[in-house]
């Protein structure tokens, strides 16, 4: 598939929900998927029940349903973000070692994660700012980063201070090495390939402008 601009340049960046919808459309029918915690969980809202996508939550469940409301709320049933959720037909429960064995063993098709930074090689930084007074807390981030057949990152392309989050080398402490396959952002979607960063789609920005702002060489054309 060659590079496409889904929106005309100038139409502006995607919202978080637009990005989530885009990711949802790219998940093949019948995939087993983990959406981590935080922003990537928005993807669930855009998955049609007919897509046959099965959600894994690392605290021990397959076929997790939507967030629980009202009487559905059961303190024994939460997602990895500790939010009450529901159970779909065909669900299965298992303990933590089995759940992470499932992940580490490469049985999930896709994992979607947030990120502080992704490098051109696919290194991921999403657990620690490296600030000297920060209390380190990794949770399942490192397991998710190395576990799925494909790791998708969902993030804004630039930090609030304007610095790129897709970089030649991560400056934040790493979560995993060369583990990211695709990066979905407000301005473009990138594949991390063995030849470098390839642009799949842009949203309101031309590729040469993107390359300038990122300070990275960008491939276009056929991703692997």
């Amino acid at each position: 598939m060659s590079h496409t601009s889904s929106r005309a340049p100038g139409q502006g960046p995607l919202s978080k929900h637009d990005i989530a919808a885009l990711i949802a459309r790219d998940i093949p029918h019948g995939s087993y998927v983990n959406l981590g915690i935080g922003q990537p969980t928005l993807v669930a809202d855009h998955l049609s029940p007919t897509a046959g996508v099965v959600l894994h939550t690392e605290n021990g469940m397959l076929n997790m349903g939507p967030a629980a409301h009202g009487d559905e709320i059961d303190p024994d049933l939460t997602n990895a973000g500790k939010v009450p959720v529901t159970e779909l037909p065909g669900a299965a429960y298992f303990h933590h070692a089995d759940s992470f064995a499932m992940m580490r063993g490469g049985h999930l098709d896709i994992c979607v994660l947030g990120a502080f930074q992704v490098s051109a090689r696919g290194d991921l930084a999403n657990w620690h700012t490296g600030a000297p007074d920060a209390i380190p807390a990794v949770g399942g981030a490192m397991d998710l980063a190395i576990g799925a057949k494909q790791v998708f990152v969902m993030m804004d392309l630039f930090a609030r201070d304007g610095t790129p989050k897709l970089v030649s080398e991560c400056s934040y402490p790493l979560t995993g090495l060369a583990c990211v396959n695709r990066v979905y952002t407000d301005l473009a979607v990138f594949d991390i390939t063995e030849h470098g960063v390839s642009v799949r789609q842009t949203f309101g920005i031309e590729v040469h402008d993107l390359a300038d702002r990122l300070g990275l060489p960008l491939l276009t054309g056929s991703p692997r």
Binding site: P75, D76, H95, M142, G147, G176
Partner: protein, 223 residues
Amino acid sequence: MTARLCADADDAVAGVRDGSTVLVGGFGMAGMPVALIDALIRQGAKDLTVVSNNAGNGDTGLAALLAEGRVRKVICSFPRQADSWVFDGLYRAGKVELEVVPQGTLAERLRAAGAGIGAFFCPTGAGTLLAEGKETREINGRLHVLEYPINGDVALISAHRADGMGNLVYRKTARNFGPVMATAATTVVVQVRETVETGAIDPETVVTPGIYVDRVVKVADHA
């Protein structure tokens, strides 16, 4: 030896020694052995190493144990949370040690302790800060970190139901760390919502066989 049904939570946690490593089940509040932690606070053991996914929330449970200065070290995957102020304060004051372990590696190190595995090469965390100082090896082109078992002196876990043998079943995602922690400690203490006659749990559905369980106590469900 077969499991003992305890009179109350205080009876269930009796005898925990100073300096013990205590495995505490739960992920958030799901599967958290609240009654046993409260009893451990009353029991008084100090200089503890606590192994749990988190490092306490709010001012109760693990946070209260920490606040009493009874914990020397925390081994967990995710100490920092919106309401982990007790841990945060002790950590910044240098009053508690912290070992951060990726969540799946934490579960697998507990499993290794229970399964008699001496050590294992794990790809998680290879090349990161959390692998610093650890032995690494490339296996089939992939970098791995050598990880060692985490054995507990005591495990405090919460299950849904126990029979007279100590066979346990859990409920939904409250299962989480319970079954692995039950295999990894010398003395395994379980709080349950209900006890049933031996034979009342279908043998196909037992999650933790009674061989792993030392003490069972039925407590009212605060959920």
